[in-house]
Symmetry: C2
DNA sequence: TTGTCAATTGTCAGTGGCTGTCATTAGCCT
DNA sequence: AGGCTAATGACAGCCACTGACAATTGACAA
């Protein structure tokens, strides 16, 4: 890697970390792009040459995670039923995610930023849209696994939508709770995914007092 | 109603219609608030006294619809299983929605704006966040119906998440397709909701060639 | 090593969404 | 009719973001 390339990488990482640190401590809306640029001592214009917008810094790490989930699903054995493949892909990609994230920013900082995303309306909106795009990708992979046409058969998109819904509920509760750790997330996720069947089944009132 | 009140209502409606018309023809991003204000011949500042932001005009009608869905779910007979109650609430509220919308803006204009929402990233993001908030409300109602505590039992949020996922997939396909009518939507929705069971069940490849 | 070329950066000016302030206007009520 | 209050317009300013141009800095060949 060139000196030039190395310099660029350093500047980008510095901007990223400065932005995330500011978001986590001061809040997203309370942080201006000028603040971020000033923290790294570059011009505002330079910031926008590295990131398409303020938002992009907040989602730089999540984007990495998404890539790894997609990859994990792609390498799932074809024998698994769709919902099973999704579940295992997500659960098993977290270790790789953690590792990849740590290379870029302290995992603790990422966790704090994650809470900011969930609690900042503008970021939550962006997060949900990104999730929708991810689900579209996953549906495509599921369809391929099953040898179906995504646009002809609704089932791939539906399972993924169901799955995505559960994941989002989980994420929200996890980020709002106290146990903001990897294991906490894993536990919550498995618990909630196990509830999908029961939740769809009939009378809850009958079940709940055995 | 006062002359003053009537005048305000007229101004608000004029701004709303002008905005939606511009969004539908020129596109959301291509429409400035100044354009909207100019179309009604008021100052930009006045626009912001009626709407919190440009976005709010686009979601004024959808907000109405959401209110009616919530209302419909509240009046569902307690005998219905959660997923059934949600399904019927949505399907049966559309007539009321259509009627209420027509009072405000031509239904055709609303449909065109809907497509703009689905195809404009910033609006889609906002739409998804609003949907998440709606789902939170619906989960609360479901929990109440079943005599559960939303924060203790995950099932209410999960069914609603599943349901919401299917609805969103349906909305997207509907707005992207040709049959952008009420009946088209109704049909798609029932079809897709009927796929929830099959989509969760095991091997699709075995099922698809009977 | 040096000179040339290309990439990176800073500066400046401008647009659009949005807000606070203050003077002006217009409807309301006695 | 005249005072009160609410609605409006005009103006200034903040912030995210973009285009254009000039200055700087690393890359690479002669």
């Amino acid at each position: 890697m060139n000196l030039r390339e190395r310099k660029k990488r350093r500047t980008r990482d510095a901007l990223l970390r400065a932005a995330l640190e500011l978001f986590a401590t001061r809040g997203y809306e309370e942080t201006t792009v000028d603040d971020i640029a000033a923290a790294v001592d570059v011009s505002q214009r330079t910031f926008f040459r590295y990131f398409a917008g303020k938002e992009e810094t907040a989602f730089f790490v999540p984007r990495l995670a998404e890539t790894l989930v997609v990859e994990a699903l792609r390498t799932r054995p074809p024998g698994e039923v769709p919902l099973e493949a999704l579940r295992r892909a997500v659960l098993e990609s977290w270790d790789a995610i953690n590792e990849a994230v740590e290379e870029l920013v302290p995992i603790d900082l990422h966790m704090r930023v994650y809470r900011v995303i969930e609690s900042t309306p503008a970021l939550l909106a962006a997060h949900l849209r990104r999730s929708a795009e991810l689900e579209e990708q996953l549906a495509g992979i599921i369809a391929e696994r099953e040898g179906l046409d995504v646009d002809a058969d609704p089932r791939p998109r539906i399972v993924v939508a169901l799955f995505g819904g559960v994941i989002r509920v989980t994420e929200r509760l996890w980020s709002a709770g106290d146990d903001v750790t990897l294991d906490g997330m894993r536990e919550l996720t498995t618990t909630y995914l196990d509830q999908v069947g029961p939740a769809l089944a009939g009378n809850w009132r009958a079940e709940q007092s055995p």
